[in-house]
């Protein structure tokens, strides 16, 4: 019998938390993720299902819809990343796949991404060093995919200048963490 214990993206048994000044970078391990890509010709049916699922219109380019239940981030044309709490939705991909049979392609993404919450005053001062997005126009409900430290990441604005969520490739979680903490030390 194997004796396996779960670890976080950074390899710890508990989520890592780093604080510089009053700003905190916290690893978020309890996120279930799945991507939904509408099949050609079924875009409207897919959008309708997603509307029922998240309780709002599927987010348009550069946008997100965040709820306590299912949340969605626009990934690309007719493609979204759906997230939910891991404890209650570990089977998110299987659930969505059964609901969207023939309408959309669903892939499991939970173990592909590392998630960090960056919160505190002057969060944008940190982001300025990390990527090239116009932060003056980065508002609550905006989410964009961009490159941080040469890694393709999603950045979700929860509250301008105070709270963002960053999703990056899990295999490079250490590099992403290094980039963000380095920027925090420089900016704050």
């Amino acid at each position: 019998m194997h004796d396996l214990k779960p670890i976080t993206a950074l390899g710890g048994t508990t989520p890592r938390v780093d604080t510089v000044g009053e700003t905190t970078l916290a690893e978020v391990p309890d996120l279930a993720l799945a991507s939904v890509a509408a099949r050609a010709g079924r875009e409207q049916a897919c959008a309708k299902h997603l509307k029922a699922l998240i309780g709002a219109q599927a987010p348009s380019p550069g946008k997100t819809w965040q709820t306590d239940h299912y949340s969605a981030v626009w990934m690309g044309p007719d493609q979204w990343m759906i997230s939910a709490d891991f404890a209650t939705h570990e089977d998110i991909a299987a659930t969505l796949k059964s609901q969207l049979e023939g309408i959309a392609s669903v892939t499991e993404q939970t173990d592909a991404w590392a998630c960090f919450d960056l919160s505190g005053p002057r969060v944008f001062a940190v982001l300025e060093l990390l990527y090239n997005i116009n932060l003056l126009q980065f508002k609550t409900g905006d989410a964009t995919r961009t490159s941080i430290h040469h890694l393709g990441c999603f950045v979700i604005c929860m509250k301008p200048d105070h709270m963002v969520r960053i999703l990056g490739p899990r295999a490079s979680a250490g590099s992403l963490h290094h980039a963000i903490t380095t920027a925090m030390t420089s900016a704050l």
Binding site: A40, P61, G62, W74, M75, G76, P77, N132, N134, T144, R145, T146, S147, H150, G152
Partner: protein, 94 residues
Amino acid sequence: MIINHPLLGPRDSAEFVNLGAAELMNRPDPETATPEDWHDYAYLRDNPAGAHRELWFHEGGDRSILIVTRDTTTHEITAVELARNRGQRHDPGK
């Protein structure tokens, strides 16, 4: 260089990968193409000093492929569109 993404607005070209001339979208019909057609498609490209239609893959972004019309002598970009839109219409354009 800044590429004005049709969906996401101005983005740094560092987020993109250049995939070469947009002629790549004009794939010959496999039912009728001759070996010469395939040779032209695979190897022959114009090398204009001036306006050039090329494909840029938004690898560090939303992963869409754009058709960018760029002046090769000044880097001025005069048109940007989603390759997907033309692909769906089976109209690669000129």
